[in-house]
């Protein structure tokens, strides 16, 4: 039921959402999140690195945990790796549930964990060259919300 995918090539989030929606037409509510490379701040390119033995298994474990925590009818976690450009999709999370609040919480939870606990390393290219991005303090605050 859960679907975790690591994509080494560009993907079309709208097409993925359409396919997900078509698979879950009987769910009451579907929440999706698309994260994209921002077209601002002078970022020319973004690179995400993954570590083959751990990144996808970690995403699969996150999908499992998310599904165990909320009653979902479907879940998709899709993350890009490689070099991306402004407007390119980085990540897509889709959560289908009978009840709206479960779908919102599950997508929010999955995103917080992808952001600060999944095995990706990110660097940005600007006019001054490439620079590695460290996690922000907010990312850790976001994730701590779920440790009740």
């Amino acid at each position: 039921m859960a679907d975790a995918r690591l994509s080494l090539d560009a993907f079309d989030p709208a097409a993925e959402i359409a396919a997900f929606n078509a698979r879950h037409r009987s769910a009451g509510g579907i929440v999706t999140f698309v994260g994209q490379v921002r077209d601002s701040g002078g970022v020319e390119a973004l690179e995400l690195q993954h570590y083959e033995p751990m990144t996808l298994p970690g995403m699969e474990e996150l999908a499992r945990i998310t599904q165990a925590r909320w009653p979902l009818e479907g879940l998709l976690i899709l993350h890009r790796s490689g070099v991306m450009y402004p407007g390119d999709a980085i990540v897509l999370v889709c959560a289908a549930a009978r009840h709206r609040r479960d779908a919102f919480a599950a997508a929010d939870f999955a995103m917080d964990h992808l952001k600060s606990e999944s095995w990706f390393w990110k660097r940005e290219k600007t006019a001054t060259g490439w620079r590695w991005i460290e996690p922000r303090p907010e990312d850790h605050e976001d994730i701590s919300r779920w440790r009740a």
């Binding site: 570590y51 600060s116 606990e117 095995w119 990706f120 590695w132 460290e134």
Partner: protein, 78 residues
């Protein structure tokens, strides 16, 4: 031989993404590296994974032929 893998900014520090090393205890492998690199690899925010499994402590870990030891700085996905 065994393999060291450097992720994220550690690749820049090491000047390479991967390095072949002689098998043996991890402490011994680290001692054979450029000290400036070894200091970075042992930074408190760097985690290590032995054949894809996170290590909680390197004490007693021995790299066998074909083993892989990855150095993982703080992540940032999404």
């Amino acid at each position: 031989m065994a393999k060291l893998v450097f992720m994220g900014r550690l690749e820049d520090v090491a000047g390479t993404a991967e390095m072949s090393v002689s098998p043996g205890p991890v402490e011994q492998v680290l001692a054979s590296l450029d000290p400036a690199l070894a200091v970075q690899l042992l930074g408190e925010k760097v985690r290590m994974a032995h054949n894809g499994r996170l290590l909680t402590d390197v004490g007693g870990v021995v790299l066998a032929n074909g083993d892989e030891l990855a150095f993982l700085p703080p992540v940032s996905g999404g």
